[in-house]
């Protein structure tokens, strides 16, 4: 398996993401810098980590979405390579057009940092097949701009196509229809505000995020 973690200037969860990928797969993740024009060859998995890329200048994720490496990430996503964007990575995915909608300032205006309940809405995706449909898990969130917005037509389409992967089990940030994570049409791109990579081992106090990596990587290990 060959997994890559992209680091932008201001990413701060890139190491956590790399550790999670290695912890679950046993294979070190390849670290990629935002200024690289190309991704390593034959990648099986790409992760865009959390953080504050480019200091959140203009809009969260807007500058990172237009950095050189993102052209390669978009091309890989279109070829079907699984792409996981967490927190700032989710913002980068919406800004780049790989996922619909936008992530706005939290409705309560405060930075929110706590473990929140999440309902697994779709357990048929390559990222969520390790959970039961309707299962409630807990994952940490840590963001100021996680308020998911899309027009009602788009929201209806996402719900109708089973593309809402996770929904918050309580009010967190004002997101439309409590959406915490969405999939692209093909199901190989997932963006989510909560941090599965911060809940994979006993020392985290919570291992609910581990099943996401186990599901996403299970067919890749040994490949």
């Amino acid at each position: 398996m060959r997994a890559a973690v992209v680091t932008f200037p201001g990413s701060n969860c890139d190491r956590d993401m790399a550790v999670a990928l290695e912890e679950v797969s046993g294979i070190p993740a390849i670290r990629v810098w935002h200024g690289d024009a190309e991704l390593p060859e034959r990648l099986d998995f790409i992760a865009l980590p959390g953080g504050f890329s480019y200091g959140d200048y203009l809009r969260c994720g807007s500058m990172a979405a237009r950095s050189p490496i993102m052209r390669a990430v978009i091309a890989a996503a279109e070829r079907g390579v699984p792409v996981l964007g967490v927190c700032n990575g989710f913002q980068v995915l919406t800004e780049s057009g790989l996922l619909p909608g936008a992530l706005m300032r939290n409705a309560q205006l405060t930075f929110t940092c706590r473990t929140v309940p999440l309902v697994v809405e779709n357990n048929q995706s390559l990222f969520t097949s390790g959970y039961d449909a309707g299962q409630v898990i807990g994952l940490p969130v840590a963001h100021h701009d996680g308020n998911y917005f899309a027009d009602s037509e788009t929201l209806d389409r996402l719900e109708g196509e089973g593309r809402v992967a996770f929904r918050y089990g309580e009010e967190v940030n004002g997101s439309q229809r409590s959406i915490a994570g969405v999939l692209n049409e093909a199901g190989n791109v997932l963006g989510m505000m909560p941090h599965p990579e911060r809940a994979i081992e006993a020392a985290h106090g919570n291992r609910d995020g581990r099943a996401l990596f186990e599901a996403a990587l299970k067919d890749l290990v040994g490949a």
Binding site: L58, S62, E95, A102, R105, L109
Partner: protein
């Protein structure tokens, strides 16, 4: 050529920041404020032959997020005799 781009949230998109500013204005005793929306102002200094299409493209591709925002482009008159 100086160009001013005003980026504002689309009507219907909730603006919690504007709401907080609204409350703060009321807290300061300003009565009669009906609504507040917070936007962004971007000033560009571009080559004189920059086309309207190029300016429009800059807004759509980067300066505004078309999912939630609208933009307005304003070309500013050059100040005659400015240093």
């Amino acid at each position: 050529m100086k160009v001013r781009v005003s980026v504002s949230l689309k009507p219907g998109v909730l603006d919690p920041q504007g709401r907080a500013v609204h409350h703060a204005l009321e807290g300061l005793g300003f009565a009669g404020v009906e609504n507040v929306r917070v936007g962004r102002l971007i000033e560009l200094d571009v080559a004189d032959d920059t086309s309207d299409e190029a300016l429009d493209d800059m807004c759509r591709k980067l300066l505004a997020n078309m999912v939630i925002e609208n933009f307005r482009i304003e070309k500013l008159p050059e100040t005659v005799g400015a240093a």
